[in-house]
């Protein structure tokens, strides 16, 4: 659905993005992660045809963003970082204008408009001036603007920024619902959001691609160290030290109440050794399980 091959964008001397390659399949929700200034917005702007790439290829639904830009623009809904709102319009006037310039056929406009108003919960404010709306409602008008022509692809640049917790949950629900019949690229730096919404993740840093894979794959790949947690019934003092002394152990963390987390060196599986040591000493092993890295930890590892 979306193919990005060796995409490069320079701003004069400054490099915006360098050699970004990834693709998104139909119906997928892709999380786009990276610290501030990593090039998330640049990539999204190229994909939404706001500006052409310096080199490389980006295709959406088989259309090149540069060569067949007009076609691409009909198929993409884009929510920029700051929602592009005409403050002197009412919500209805604004959305009507958007639906017109997006090239929606005349007889479908009304239906599309009503559907977008309903999906984004704008019914109460539809006749008010956008300038008088709260930040949360403005953001929703922004989202309505992106999906009003029912595009195949949605590109959302930090859709939940500046919203209160309740609104964030609502917007997430909305994105999840949209995910069933749209292909979505979602940029954010709230990692929870990616965990909740996205199956696949792209991480970029300083304009370069750091990782592009499914979340599970990333967990196992990025985990240079595998970790195991165990719980003891009657841990004597110095358990942590004796475990640490075993071969292939990087570190042991005592988290209290008999819970321990062991980090193993890469490539070494010392679970058996740990278990037998515990049993031999009669510390009372209650449970033992592997710990997978959370997205946060992967992110910090990759970006650092």
């Amino acid at each position: 659905m979306i193919e990005v091959i060796n995409l490069v964008k320079h701003y004069g001397e400054h490099v915006g993005i360098q050699d970004i390659t990834f693709n998104v399949d139909k119906g997928e929700v892709l999380g786009f992660l990276g610290p501030n200034g990593a090039g998330k917005t640049t990539t999204m702007r190229v994909l939404s045809c706001y500006m052409p790439p310096s080199s490389g290829i980006a295709r959406i639904c088989g259309f090149d963003v540069f060569e067949e830009s007009l076609e691409v623009r009909k198929k993409v809904g884009y929510l920029p970082e700051h929602p592009p709102l005409y403050l002197d319009h009412t919500v209805m006037d604004y959305l009507m204008f958007v639906v017109e310039i997006k090239g929606v056929k005349k007889d479908k406009r009304r239906v599309f408009l009503d559907r977008a108003v309903e999906k984004c919960g704008l019914g109460e404010v539809k006749n008010r001036l956008i300038a008088n709306l709260s930040k949360g409602y403005k953001q929703r008008v922004g989202i309505a603007q992106a999906l009003i022509h029912e595009p195949e692809v949605l590109i959302l640049d930090e859709p939940t920024i500046g919203l209160d917790p309740k609104q964030i949950i609502e917007i997430r629900e909305l994105i999840r619902a949209l995910g069933s019949d749209h292909t979505i690229i979602l940029s954010t730096h709230i990692l929870q959001e990616v965990t909740m919404l996205c199956k696949r993740v792209v991480i970029i840093n300083r304009g370069r691609l750091v990782a592009a894979d499914s979340r599970e794959q990333l967990s196992s790949q990025a985990a240079g160290v595998t970790r195991v947690s165990f719980k003891l019934r009657k841990p004597p003092d110095g358990v942590a030290d004796s475990i640490r002394a075993l071969e292939g152990i990087k570190d042991v963390e005592d988290s209290g109440n008999g819970n321990f987390i062991v980090e193993m060196l890469q490539g070494k599986d010392t679970r058996e050794l740990i278990a037998s040591t515990i049993v031999k000493n009669g510390w009372g092993l209650l449970e033992m399980k592997p710990v997978s890295l959370s997205l946060e930890e992967i992110y910090v590892k990759l970006i650092a």
Partner: protein, 256 residues
């Protein structure tokens, strides 16, 4: 083509829901009204004095002594007002980021620019409508030539179109409305006074300056009642040139 209309309608809505059009229109009309009043009273004073001598009476001409200076002055007001009308037109979209919506919608740059130009021009024409009362008053109280009145309005609209297209160009350069307005005013003023050097510069160059000037050889003709294709083409090419430059500027910004 339809897209041009959508853009134009949206712009008109912005002009008339914000105070912009009302303030600009109000100021233009009050100053124009003052000019009309003062020139008219001067003219009636003059006609009272001229009544003493029949010879002088023959020199009294409503078109020459009232309509020409009145609409000449209106051109001057326009010089100040047009940059205010056009300065927001692209700069504001850049500032607010709404230009992202336009760029990522299936619109051609030429459609966006044409729509915006037509909207500003329509606002100007709407502002001009109340000034039609001056010729109506004159027709009721005297018998001016109607020909020059018609040509004057054609000239005024063409002059306004040229001013607005140059303003639209400066608005495309920057996201700061102030910069857009001041540069437009500077360019217009320079193009206006260019014609003043016509007499003092050596023959071929003087004529060139006169031709390039926005008013000298062109608007003056319309005021005299002459509709010359040369003048119409001059204004249309200024309009086209301004819009063309704006398009090039916006295109190049995207490439950087």
């Amino acid at each position: 083509m339809r897209n041009v209309f959508y853009i134009m309608r949206k712009e008109l809505k912005s002009y008339f829901t914000s105070p912009v059009a009302y303030v600009i229109g109000g100021i233009f009309l009050s100053i124009a009204g003052y000019f009309f009043y003062s020139i008219l009273t001067f003219f009636s004073l003059l006609s009272l004095q001229y009544m003493q001598s029949p010879y002088m009476m023959n020199n009294l001409n409503l078109n020459e002594m009232l309509i020409r200076p009145l609409y000449g002055n209106m051109g001057v007001i326009l010089l100040f007002i047009a940059p205010l009308l056009s300065m927001r037109i692209i700069a504001e979209e850049k500032k607010l980021g709404t230009i992202e919506l336009l760029y990522t919608s299936p619109l051609r740059l030429s459609e966006i620019i044409t729509g915006k130009f037509l909207a500003a021009l329509s606002v100007f024409i709407i502002i001009l409508i109340p000034t039609l009362e001056y010729p109506v008053v004159l027709l009721l109280g005297g018998n001016p030539d109607t020909g020059p009145l018609i040509s004057t309005y054609i000239g005024l609209i063409l002059l306004g179109a040229a001013f607005i297209s140059i303003g639209l160009f400066t608005s495309s350069i920057t996201e700061n409305q102030m910069v857009a307005g001041v540069s437009a005013f500077g360019i217009l003023l320079l193009l206006w006074v260019l014609g003043w050097a016509k007499q003092s510069v050596d023959p071929p160059y003087g004529d060139i300056l006169g031709y390039l000037s926005l008013v000298e050889d062109h608007y003056e003709n319309f005021l005299k009642g002459i509709i010359d294709t040369k003048d119409i083409i001059y204004y249309l090419s200024v309009v086209f040139f301004g819009l063309f430059l704006a398009q090039r500027v916006l295109e190049s910004r995207r490439w950087r």
